[in-house]
Symmetry: C2
């Protein structure tokens, strides 16, 4: 059977002109590495040290693989679920195989090839004896691991290690490992697991990548073809189809930034393998260059290197991850964009591949240029019509102020119920925050590191976010399937100039309720940081309770309005949909001109000023109803309107001043804003800021968001006119 497989492979090659170069190489040199340009590494020797990033990685991997070699080969019979001993050993093994292969190519030291060979020969004995994993649960069962996803990851790494040492093995050793390890694993993960393999889902991407790369290494174009186009080779599934469907035209991944980072790895690694073997496929140009675009977009989804923690996400996840080391190196190999080098510098790491070597060499040569972080609208959905993520940046630096408007679609099972939510980063800090996921990754005592019950009861609920809640219930009633069917509409986006804006609208998050939100980042002369205007308008059809929470990071300094405080017992805000997790510290009813709350974070002040008539302000802290201390405790403020049918929440967030602990100086602790008003004029919303120095800034938002439509308004006795939904008029000092 093994021989036949091979023959079928050769026949397939003969039939496909596209795969001829590979066939030619296979004939000439049957065991040479095909997944990378090994010649670049073989030529390296001691020169690796000339490029510090590469030299350090070489030392790191050598230390790790040497330790594995010293520990001895252990290929245990699969037994444990995630985190258990056999699970962890097989994970360590694929890392060691991958590392040993790289070390053999770079150093030429035979012992690394021997170690990989011996381990793979042990797998060759074990693998044919395996059936479904004994600890399999409701996930698709693997053989080596409880979930077949882990088997796919194992294959992606192990086959790269094998490819690197294969030409150091005897033909007999090769045949044993080819047949009993890799062909069997690839068969199990493809024809043996059709439901996973042909899904449009990240788990399938890993399976496709592992099987496809195995196809190249075994010189088996049939496996490659299935990996690219699905088991029936129709193209309705497989890797190319996933590139079509899992990314938006702007390279945004449906589940959000945290999972975009995770999902990226099999895409870039398999793409690099395709490019190395079948450059004529022009995989990096596929779909208008979606792979390099996805890499750049992933980086754009960060502030100071940390991913925006939208949907289920750990807030401590940064560009310093294995996925991004690979992605940056592969992206650089394709584009030679010097901006990627500055990301590698931030990461302080690269990978031991020819591309990683290029990164290290060019960083050492001083070729790095700053990565151009920019305002952008990343459309969501395969066709770009399911809303989008609007990113407004005050400058190109990775610590310049960023406003993120989450106008995306639901994002599958890891999505949160937070249509038109927003975040703000300023002065190197998260200021308007997203809780992310309720989970302690890999911490055994917290439910083994899995998503905690509070992820459902708190983190996913609307009130845990900075957007509208109607009648204390979450968007879509918390129904993820319903949520998948509806997405916001991005009505306007302008990312350049001194007035940057996102306007989006959501229909159907609640039956009969439409809400529209304009978030505007305003540069004002003489003020160090831009100010944010937030106009959220809701049409409800019938009276309701409207809550607009703002979760912020910082210590409250002052409120302009009097508070009724719960100082001796602290009640809950509600009973369900996340409200049970909120303690109420105080409430207050601002008057017309004192609706301001000021806090301090990392030496800078933030004043949140509202012009929402009749509103009650609720101040409190998250983390109630949490007997196991699973939640962080973070402050919030809610603007509450009771009994309104249509309403407009009008808010301004102003960063100002600086407290310097070392010099014991404080400047600008008072807001630069004296007045903040909202008025309706015809089909226009007019928001006016009056500064303390008397200057006035008028921001006008039109109902009609047609960019070609002209509007006009009397401003200070003078007719002003403009095109498009956003107008701005800066006035002289008031008399």
């Amino acid at each position: 059977m093994i021989a036949r497989s091979f023959l079928i492979g050769v026949a397939a090659i003969a039939m496909s002109p596209l795969t001829l170069p590979m066939a030619a190489q296979a004939a000439a040199d049957d065991a040479h590495p095909v997944l990378m340009n090994a010649g670049k590494l073989s030529a390296l020797g001691a020169n690796a040290q000339a490029y510090p990033l590469f030299g350090e990685e070489l030392a790191r991997v050598r230390k790790s693989v040497d330790a594995a070699m010293k520990a001895g080969i252990s290929v245990p019979v699969p037994k444990d679920a995630g985190g258990g001993a056999s699970h962890e050993q097989h994970k360590r093994n694929y890392t060691a195989l991958y590392g040993a292969g790289q070390l053999y190519r770079i150093t030429g030291e035979r012992r690394y090839a021997d170690f990989a060979r011996d381990m793979l020969l042990a797998y060759a004995k074990l693998y044919p004896t395996l059936g479904p994993h004994p600890a399999a649960s409701n996930q698709a069962a693997g053989r080596l691991f409880w979930q077949s996803l882990n088997d796919s990851v194992w294959l992606v790494y192990a086959v790269q290690g094998y490819d690197a040492v294969r030409d150091a093995l005897t033909p007999q050793e090769r045949q044993t490992i080819d047949d009993n390890v890799f062909r069997k694993t690839a068969q199990f993960l493809s024809t043996g697991s059709p439901k996973v393999f042909d899904r449009i889902h990240n788990h399938a991407t890993w399976a496709n990548a592992g099987v496809g790369m195995t196809g190249y290494v075994l010189r088996d174009p049939d496996l490659v073809e299935k990996a690219l186009k699905g088991l029936d080779k129709s193209g309705k599934s497989g890797f190319l189809r996933q590139l079509d469907l899992l990314f938006s035209p702007d390279g945004y991944y449906a589940e959000g930034p945290y999972y975009q980072r995770y999902a990226l790895q099999p895409f870039v690694i398999f793409a690099a393998a395709i490019e190395a073997n079948e450059p004529q496929r022009r995989i990096f140009a596929y779909r208008d260059g979606i792979v390099p675009k996805a890499i750049r977009t992933t980086i754009q989804l960060t502030y100071d290197g940390y991913f925006f923690p939208l949907n289920d996400a750990m807030p401590d996840k940064s560009l310093r991850t294995e996925e991004l080391y690979q992605a940056v190196a592969i992206g650089y190999g394709v584009t030679h964009d010097p901006a990627l080098l500055s990301i590698a510098q931030w990461q302080k790491r690269t990978v031991l591949t020819p591309q990683g070597l290029e990164v290290a060499r060019d960083v050492a040569a001083g070729k790095a240029r700053p990565f151009p972080f920019a305002s952008m609208l990343l459309r969501d959905g395969p066709d770009g019509d399911k809303g989008g993520l609007a990113i407004l940046r005050a400058g190109p630096g990775d610590k310049d102020q960023v406003l993120v408007a989450k106008n995306t679609a639901q994002g599958m099972g890891h999505g949160h119920f937070d249509k038109l939510n927003w975040l703000l980063y300023d002065n190197g800090q998260a200021i308007v925050t997203d809780y992310g996921a309720a989970r302690f990754l890999n911490i055994e005592a917290k439910d083994g590191g899995r998503y905690l019950p509070e992820n459902e009861s708190w983190a996913k609920q609307t009130v845990a976010h900075n957007t509208l809640v109607v009648n204390e219930t979450s968007h879509f009633g918390g129904d993820a399937k319903l949520a998948e069917t509806l997405a916001p509409r991005q009505l306007h986006f302008s990312g350049e100039g001194p007035t940057r804006a996102s306007i989006a609208e959501m229909d159907g998050a609640y039956p009969g309720v439409t809400f529209r939100r304009a978030l505007v980042q305003l540069d004002i002369k003489g003020l160090k940081s831009p100010l944010m205007v937030d106009l959220l308008k809701v049409k409800g059809g019938k009276p309701a309770r409207y809550d607009l929470p703002l979760h912020f990071a910082g210590h409250i300094i002052d409120t302009g309005f009097p508070l009724q405080s719960n100082v001796t017992t602290r009640p809950l805000l509600g009973k369900a949909d996340g409200y049970q997790h909120l303690w109420v510290d105080a409430t207050g009813k601002p008057g017309a001109d004192n609706g301001v709350l000021t806090w301090i974070q990392d030496g800078r002040f933030y004043s949140y000023r509202i012009a929402t008539p009749g509103v009650t302000m609720i101040l409190g802290e998250s983390g109630a109803s949490d007997p196991r201390f699973n939640l962080r405790r973070e402050p919030f403020v809610i603007q509450r309107l009771d009994g309104a049918t249509d309403a407009a929440f009008v808010s301004l967030l102003e960063p100002h001043g600086r407290y310097d602990a070392s010099a014991e100086t404080t400047t600008g602790s008072e807001s630069a804003v004296r007045g903040f008003t909202h008025a309706r004029q015809g089909d226009l919303d007019v928001v006016t800021l009056t500064l303390r120095d008397g200057r006035r800034v008028m921001l006008v938002l039109a109902d009609d968001t047609d960019p070609a439509r002209s509007h006009s308004l009397q401003v200070g006795g003078k007719a002003q006119s403009w095109k498009g939904p956003v107008g701005r008029f800066d006035g002289e000092k008031a008399k």
Copy 2:
């Protein structure tokens, strides 16, 4: 009158052989700078740039003084209290005078001398017209400022600036400024303010320093003599007496680390001026070298550069402050200790004096050596018999683990009621914490930056600290005067070897109650961080409620014992003495072997394990009864014993494991300790740790703390004997 003053000065010189060198110089060159070796700076010119620390400071000061020159001279009639416009302007003026003087010496640019001259001539017009400050409150009134303390600080800076430019002025200008500014100010602050000037207090140190330095500049030895020995020149007050009384023999300042930093500046600056003018006084050798000792001790009072926040203290205060820039430079000028250079490197700053130049030059020459942070007992009190601060360090690095036992005296008005309190730093973080002061320094909206009411009601109270509270009342009933009369006794200190310990005892914090605390830092082979054993024994004479709080930084991961949780309303723990500021989240009663609470901080786990029989554990958070959001909210756990007369609180704190967010790996999240017991054998307390690998560590603490006394004990069937109060026996794996 002016001429007469001068004559008296000369007469005094003539009478005192000690001051002859100054007199000689005065005769030869009446206006040359005397407060520093100006020749070193004058020779500098463009070479300043060769020493980056100095060059950067030069650029910084030049920018600041140039801005002040551009703004123009403003010497307003005093009007406002602290923070107000006239107050801030006079503060800016002394900084500008000081900077202009330095710049003139370094650059030779005449415009800096002219600026200083013009400003001082403006002061010469204003000063003679001034009476007591119109905004004076209950503090000693100044002339330029509402408090005379500020006038003293003004004088210290301004006279240094004047000294630097004096030889660039005409004799007429000099005389005008000498007479109408400096002599008048010095008179006001000395003979005009006898109560302040002759106090033993930091405010007097500033006055002494300003007056004494003015004496040198005006060639008036009478002023110098008063500054050194008090108005009556008896030596019962004045600078030298302050050196005798305000520091302990180990260079520890009575009020604690935060105020030690603040107090240091006038001591070191005036000492440097004395040395420059009267080297025969050997001021830096005075009292066994108390000035350089105090500088080194100040640095030892830090972790990762931040001061231990004992007593009233802001936790964000580090070695990066003006006081320490001056102290490090002056200390280096005296000692040339290369360890001070590494502190300057950490500070990234120095000062524009000849000593600062030396620092910058030697840092640039690579002469810096690591500062030798070390375990030490810093005795408190002028005679070293008022308890002390015991610092146990796991290594010489500024981030090696540190245990601080606060066994000091009360520390005057800024002292907290926390006898035998302790702190722990580990892994670069504060782990067992001290709240410090309830205050937002310089933040206008928080009571103008003053101490807040919660400083009395919370921050000073015993329950806000990590020490024993009896019957929910603070030590000494919160009476600061009573507290001043009593201090702990340090019974034992051993800072070296694998078992480092502090034992201290407090008598009279409560009537009839004595408590003794042993804090031991244990190195254990194979464990990355030392473990802390805390044995607190109390003899009360009658049944009482004993609480032992632990305030910690981190997120709770797990408890070994079941909890009764307050999930829907959150009650207060008590009504007064700080208890009203504590929310109760949960309570629990541990059994014999499950008394453990684990939290995580910055990727490391901490298990707090107790062997206190019959204890109730109270888990909660600070920040209740705080309608103005003045307090931070921080977790705590309290061990509570009700109705006990004598009791022993037995606790173990174990750092372990590591969570790496980037690699998504967790190691050692389980404690390495399996068992923790306490037993009494004769006059010995026997604490036994059993590790998970079966090893046993036995720590024995004897009642008799005589270092010469021998003890013996049967350990594992073998008689062991040792000398002194602390014995330790590491056993083999248990069978």
